[in-house]
């Protein structure tokens, strides 16, 4: 199983990312800048949450029912709990995030509370797309969306150059696979399938 060999190292990625650090099975990590992007993203959503809570608190000040007292406590408790998550989640996300591209598959391991392991066979990839929002654009980061017939897998917060290399590699692997199929005589494919 050949591994993806990056062309240039980054702050947190070794020059030869295919081998990765010893014991990493070729999994690659993200750049630390991903945390800034996540913090900015969370910050925007947290500001919206605070605005909603402030509005609800102001609106419910004239309500005297004890039920509203509970609701008012919740309006204080929810932002506090979310704040803890907003502060703690990005480093955990960064620490846990791993991705690996070999000649036959893409794997991503990610998650803060729920840890997910995504496996996409290269054979199933229909489309590869690089996407960048305004925040990621500022930080020079991008996502690579890998579309299959059944859903989309994403490798997030890659450096732009890295994202382009990943997309290029995936397109190359898909192209090679299609070329092999076009060149292979029909009988040989049938033979192997029937074996």
């Amino acid at each position: 199983m050949a591994l993806f060999t990056g062309q240039r190292g980054t702050e947190d990625t070794a020059p030869d990312p295919s081998s990765g650090a010893p014991g990493t099975d070729g999994y690659r990590r993200l750049n630390r800048r991903c945390m800034i992007s996540i913090y900015i993203n969370y910050g925007i959503w947290y500001a919206i949450l605070l605005a909603i809570c402030a509005f609800l608190t102001t609106f419910s000040q004239n309500l005297s029912d004890p039920y509203y007292e509970i609701a008012r406590l919740a309006l204080l408790g929810v932002p506090a709990a979310v704040l803890v998550y907003v502060v703690v989640a990005p480093p955990v996300f960064y620490t846990r995030y791993r991705y690996r591209i070999t000649d036959d598959r893409v794997e991503v391991r990610r998650g803060v509370l729920v840890i997910r392991h995504t496996l996409v066979p290269i054979e199933r990839v229909h489309q590869v797309e690089i996407t960048r929002g305004p925040i990621k654009n500022l930080l020079g980061l991008a996502d690579v969306a890998i579309t299959t017939a059944g859903g989309v897998a994403t490798i997030n917060y890659l450096e732009l150059e890295e994202a382009e290399r990943v997309a290029e590699l995936l397109n190359k692997l898909i192209g090679e696979m299609l070329r092999e199929r076009l060149q292979a005589p029909a009988s040989s494919v049938t033979g192997s399938a029937d074996e």
Binding site: Y67, R116, H117, L119, E123, A149
Partner: protein
Amino acid sequence: MTGRDRETPARSSAAREQSTDDRAAADHPGTASRTGEMEIWGKRVRCHPGIIVEKTLPFAPILFILIITLVGRPAAAAALAVLFIAVVFINYRIWSRTTIQFDDTGVVVERDTVFKRKKTIPYSKVASVNINRGITNRLLGTSSLLININSGSGATVPEAVLTFEQDTAESIRSRILHRLYTHSEDQDEGDEPVEMPALFSPLDVILHGLFSVSTYQTVSGLFFLVYSVFQFYVSAGTDGGSAGAVVSLLIFAALLVGPIISQIFYYYNYRVYRRGDTIYLQHGLIRSYRTSFDVSRINAVRVKSTLAARLMHRSCIEAEVVGLASGKGQSLRPVLCLLKDDATQQTLLRELVPEFVYDRKPEKQPEGAARVLLIEAGAASLALALVMIYPSIYLYRRAMTATGIAGLTMPYMLPVITVSLILAIFYAVYVLYRITDLDLGENLFSFVNGAVDRETVTMNYDRVQMVVTAKGPIARLFNVARSNIYLLSSIGGSSITSGYFHERDLNAIGEIVMERIASGDYDYRKNSL
């Protein structure tokens, strides 16, 4: 460059070379319909003008109601009437400037209106060609021909909806299907008697309509029915106060009565059979629906039974097939067997889709799963209890002053309901732990899920697009995980979730998929999308 791109220039050139006869056929759509499909083939034609009525009718009731309500304001009513005429004119213009050409390689639909469009649908990409006949079609003697392609995006909408006279639509469908499949549709779906693997009586259809609705939906619907009866009882003799009862009754009708009647109408005259590698389905009382698809298009098979159906020892079969959209909002997942006794269902499963039958040796969930499920049930119960505390106290205080049966029952109603729900949650968790399983066969694998409404989903490794294994914080404590298997489904992409199992067992699914690709067991030509 896609097949579609490659073919477009050739088609444009061919279109330019259309003979005078072709243009005449396009100018006189009725001619083509009268003389049958042979006259249409290879020529540019228009749909039956009935499509104008079909497209305009959905606007008519809304505009009619608006005009009635604006009767005191003639200017507004006149504006709406003008709007309606504009809709008719636009639909007329779209009809008059849209041509269709069926030839040996595909269908070209070309619209020469303000928003120009040329759509080429090669037969190699067609997943199904279906006939749909609604009330308008019956009145006008037409049929809608629905052409679907194999695409995850837009899987719920047909690629082309074309209206022709009934005979013409039938013969076009037959000719396209003849190109898609190896045998003639005429022989299979003509008036000749066909040997059915199972017969479905009107009673079967009614039972399917009544008991295939999910238990949660049934319980919710019945709850609103009981509540409306209760409200009617409480408000009897008082002025007003029955508005809540009426609303509840309407919700009951929308949740339960509507879906049941709709299912009965939809599946009336149900027929299913298989010829070669093609499965044929026909059903419908008011709107008749006919479809056929190749077995190789099936991505997964679900054997389903609701709680009520299980008590009657009945179950039904559904298939995940992409490209069967009817565009009319009906269920997109073809039903291969209505609720039938389990023995008949198994026979049908073996006869219709033997490719999805294998010897199961299921693995039960490990002990860790039981603990995770118990903790989840405990958390859900706690949340439910906390949410219900205040409403219970509120209702208790309010109902203390009531007299009669209401005074006796209402104060304790919510606490009793809460305790009942908590007991139900724990019982459901016990059942879920007992019945959930996983089976990894050589070519197929399957999950059994559902404490209340149960389903066995059998999937082909070669159709798996993506595997996502997830471990939550509690699951990690007990070393278990769940998997989501992503497949191309009737509604585009969808995922099927497993129960809690050891991660290594779930990872085996992805590894088998990869091994099959590497070893050549996976034949891309049989599984191309």
